[in-house]
Structure formats: C-alpha cells, structure tokens
C-alpha cells in the first residue's frame, strides 16, 4: 500500500503561562492510501494536534509531516476536516452549507445544489435543505457536517471525535452511515477518538496513544471482515479479543492517570 501521510519524528510543544507543555513526542506513523485509521488515546494526548498537522494548520516543533512525499507547510487542501466542534456557517441554510466547497470551486448553483441534495438525502436529512443549522438538533448538525465533508470528495478525511457529543444509540447510527458512505467513496480516513469501541468498530488499523506527552504505544490491525454490522459486531468474539488486547495498552495509562491524579 502507498503511504499517503507520514509523520516522522514528530514532537509538538506548547508554551503556556505555566511553562512548556509537550503534547506529543517521538511520533512515527504512516497512513496508507484508502485505509481507515483510528487513533485512540486519553484526552490531551495530542491526537487532535496530529490531525491539525496533517491539515497544515499547525507546524510540529520537531520532525515533519509528509503528504504524498511532500512536506506539509501550509493548509493542505487535499484533506477534508471534520472537527469536534460545529463549524457550519450559521447564516447559511443547510443546503448552502453542504454546497460551500463546490461553490468555492465555481460550480454552477444548479449543479452544486443537486449534489448537496443528493448528499443530504444519503445522510437522512431530506426535507431539511432550507433549514438553518440553528434549527437542527446536535445529531442532525453532525450529519450536515458529514455531508459537507463528503460532498466535495476530498482525497483524505480527518475526523476529530466527530460523534463525541452524541448519545450512544445515535452514535451507532452515525457509525453505520459513515461506514456505508466510506465504502462507496474509498476515501482515506483518519479518525481520532477516545472511545476504543468506536475505533475497533470502524477502523482497519488502530493506533493507541499514551497520555501526555503522547506517544504511540501500539498499532493493531483490525481484521474483521467488511461490510461490518456496527450494531452486532461488538458481540463477535474476534472483536472482544482485539478490544481486550488494545484495552490492555490503554488500561496501564488509565491506572497511571488515576495514581497521578
């Protein structure tokens, strides 16, 4: 498989009033083209930092990030980024939000609205085209964000705890939709979460991070067959086995965290 994103010897330090904080260090990680990679770790271990670097919104303090062999030095327009927080434009209707990237590219209004409606339909939001984001529930806004990210077909999609704020049932529904949409597009996915269950359900490979300063503790391949039934897969014995093994790496951290805290 071709390496698409390469993190080489990455460290990132932030200066705060109380001194220097190291978010992550010694990170070497390769994301292959077309794969679904999940990054799991406790909060504050620099997971989002890694996504920001791949997007070119943040430069590492040491090391470098390469995208298709080129160093990422400025905003990387080949990735789509779905952040933890809502970044829909509140003054635009849902359809105009989904169509915005196409609008920036200069596609005609008819064409981009056709695509936007198609995607809104696929994420189950038919009938809400002309609503404003403020009129929708949190889960619906997440779907709009997803449709917006997928609609312009970026080569790679970065997702930073996209479903973190949703309740457990709704998350499963979103997982199901995400996997279906992903299977149809075969985009490269980098998915950050602190939920191990979510990571194993969705990903081809899972990278486990230690707490701050974040380092990669282990990378495991999830060899569960696709298409996966997100509602049943966690009862699969292989799922349990893998989950247990990965949990082992995380558990040490969690226990350490308790002792330190």
């Amino acid at each position: 498989m071709t390496p698409l994103i390469e993190y080489r010897g990455i460290a990132r330090r932030f200066t705060t009033r109380r001194g220097t904080v190291t978010a992550c260090e010694h990170v070497d990680l390769t994301v292959h083209e077309g794969e679904f990679l999940a990054i799991v770790g406790p909060s504050g271990c620099g997971k989002s930092t890694l996504l920001n670097m791949a997007a070119g919104l943040l430069q590492p303090s040491a090391g470098a990030v390469f995208y298709r062999g080129e160093k990422v030095a400025e905003p990387n327009t080949r990735v789509g980024y779905m952040t933890q927080r809502d970044t829909l434009l509140p003054w635009r209707s849902v359809e105009d939000n989904v169509a915005i990237a196409l609008e920036l590219r200069g596609e005609s209004r008819a064409e981009r609205l056709r695509k936007a409606h198609d995607w809104l339909h696929r994420v189950g939001l038919k009938g809400f085209e002309s609503a404003y984001p403020g009129q929708l529930s949190g889960g619906m806004r997440r779907r709009v964000s997803m449709a917006r990210t997928l609609a312009y077909e970026p080569e790679t999609i970065l997702m930073d705890e996209p479903f973190g704020a949703l309740d457990a049932q709704l998350r499963l529904v979103m997982h199901d939709e995400l996997l279906k949409l992903w299977a149809a597009t075969k985009t490269t996915m980098v998915f950050v979460t602190h939920d191990l269950m979510e990571a194993v359900t969705l990903a081809d490979r899972v990278a486990v991070f230690s707490p701050r300063p974040g380092r990669i503790r282990a990378i495991e391949t999830v060899d569960l067959p696709r298409p996966r039934d997100v509602f049943r897969i966690r009862f699969d014995p292989r799922f349990g086995e893998l989950h247990d093994r990965l949990w082992g790496y995380l558990e040490e951290n969690v226990r350490e965290g308790v002792r330190v805290g």
Partner: protein, 274 residues
C-alpha cells in the same frame, strides 16, 4: 416548514396558544395605555395646583404649543433640519466606520500602527468637538452633519473592528482547507459574521447621531429641534422645551424601530434559529 416543526418534536402552536398569546398582548397594551393616561392625568392635575406650570408645564399646554408650531409650519421645518443632519451624519458615519473597521480588521499591520491613535480619538468625548466644528464649518447644516458623522463613525468603526477579531478561526480554517482564496474567506465567512456586529454598532449609534445633531444645534444655530429647545428655554417657555423633547422622543423611537426591522430582514437566519 411544517414537516420540520413536527419532526423536531416541538409542540404545534394550536388555536388555544394563539388566543392566549393575543390575550396576553391585550393585557400588556391595556397596562401601557393605563400608565400613560394616569401619568398624563396626574401631571395635568398637579400642574398649577401644587407645582407651578413654570417648572413642569402641563400636557395641555405642551399640546397647544405643538399645535401652534404645526399651524405655523415651524414644526416640520425644524424636524426636517434635525432629521437631515441626523440621517446624513448616520449614513456618512456608518459607511466610513464599516470601511475603516474592515480595513483595520483585515490588515493586522495597519491595525497595530494605528491602534494608539484610534484609542486616543475614541476616548475623547466627541461632544467636546462641537465648538471646533462650528468654528470650522459655520453655524449651518454642515457643522452638525460633521458632528453626527464623527460620533457615529467611532461607534460603528469600533464594533466592526471588534467583529473582525471575533470571527471564529475554526470557520476560517475549514474554508481554507476547502481551497478558499483569501477574498472568498472574506466574503463568505468574515463579512457575514461581522454583519451582526455592524448592526449592533449601527443600532446603538442611531440615538448618538441624533445627540450629535441636537447638541450642535443647541450650541449655535437658528433652526432644528435643538435650537427650539435652546430658544424656548431662553424665553422661560417650559411648554416649548417639553414639546421639542417630545418630538425628539418620537423621532428617536421611530429610528430605532426602523433599524430593528431592517436587521430582522437581513439576519433572517438568526431570527429562525431559536
């Protein structure tokens, strides 16, 4: 929008709800009218009985004065003068305030350089400049327009500038990743999110435009509502002062309403997102 309301589990607004809302509104209106009538009645009652009309005049005397001005045609002439000054000052001040606010907001270097000057002028009580403007631009319309412009300019400028600083970086970043050019980001993210701030600035500056014009008139002029107040007070004509104040109040309220309506129209998304 019917399906939307239903699917979002909002209680449908039934006839009962509409009727009770109307009842509520009628009650509020009844109270308002009651307060006005009682207030005016008490005013009229105590004037001349317990308090000399010289101090507080009376509603009937004020009404007579207004009617007198109306008959002679003076009322419209003065209103027109004051309104012209206010509106011109507001328009010039708002346009230049928005332009300058955006220029500084989008150009960090320029903002850094001009910061101390802006603060210095902003802190200055603008009214204190009125004598200077009268000296420069005479006792006519122009000095009041400049005065109002100056007051409005700073309020709108400051709000616009603050608005550009408050634009959410995440929104800008997402669009940059989508390949937006600088100009596209300005048009599709920065301007729409600053619009709310611009409107706030304009809304609060409307009464100040009026203040600028009226204060200018009170200092030196022979026309306008400010002049009317000053001239009436000079003749110990309390009814005249109150009558002019009453007209000013009506004008200020009208301007405020006008702006509120246009804001509703332009920020429709905000209205619907509750």
């Amino acid at each position: 929008m019917d399906t939307l309301t239903a699917e979002m589990d909002q209680p449908r607004v039934g006839h009962d709800a509409i009727a009770s809302a109307r009842d509520e509104w009628l009650k509020v209106m009844a109270w308002r009218i009651g307060i006005t009538v009682v207030g005016l009645g008490v005013w009229e009652g105590i004037s001349g009985r317990w308090v000399k009309p010289f101090w507080i005049s009376s509603p009937s005397a004020i009404w007579a004065q207004l009617f007198g001005w109306y008959e002679s045609g003076d009322l419209w002439m003065h209103i027109e003068i004051t309104m012209t000054e206010t509106v011109l000052g507001f328009v010039f001040g708002a346009v230049s305030g928005v332009a300058f606010g955006l220029a500084l907001g989008l150009n960090k270097r320029l903002a850094a350089v001009l910061d101390p000057f802006v603060i210095a002028f902003y802190s200055l009580p603008k009214i204190a400049l009125a004598p200077l403007f009268i000296l420069w631009f005479g006792v006519g319309l122009l000095s009041k327009v400049v005065m109002a412009t100056f007051v409005v300019f700073f309020l709108v400028f400051y709000n616009t500038y603050a608005g550009t600083l408050a634009v959410e970086q995440e929104l800008v970043d997402v669009l940059r990743l989508m390949g937006a050019t600088r100009w596209q980001i300005v048009r599709k993210v920065i301007l729409p999110s600053v619009l709310l701030w611009i409107f706030t600035g304009m809304k609060i500056s409307v009464p100040y435009a009026l203040i600028g014009a009226v204060v200018g008139e009170m200092m030196a002029s022979n026309k306008g509502l400010g002049y009317l107040i000053q001239a009436s007070a000079g003749q110990y004509d309390t009814a005249g002062v109150f009558a002019a104040l009453f007209v000013l109040m009506i004008i200020a309220t009208g301007l405020h309403e006008l702006l509120k309506q246009s804001e509703k129209l332009m920020l429709r998304w905000k209205e619907e997102s509750t």
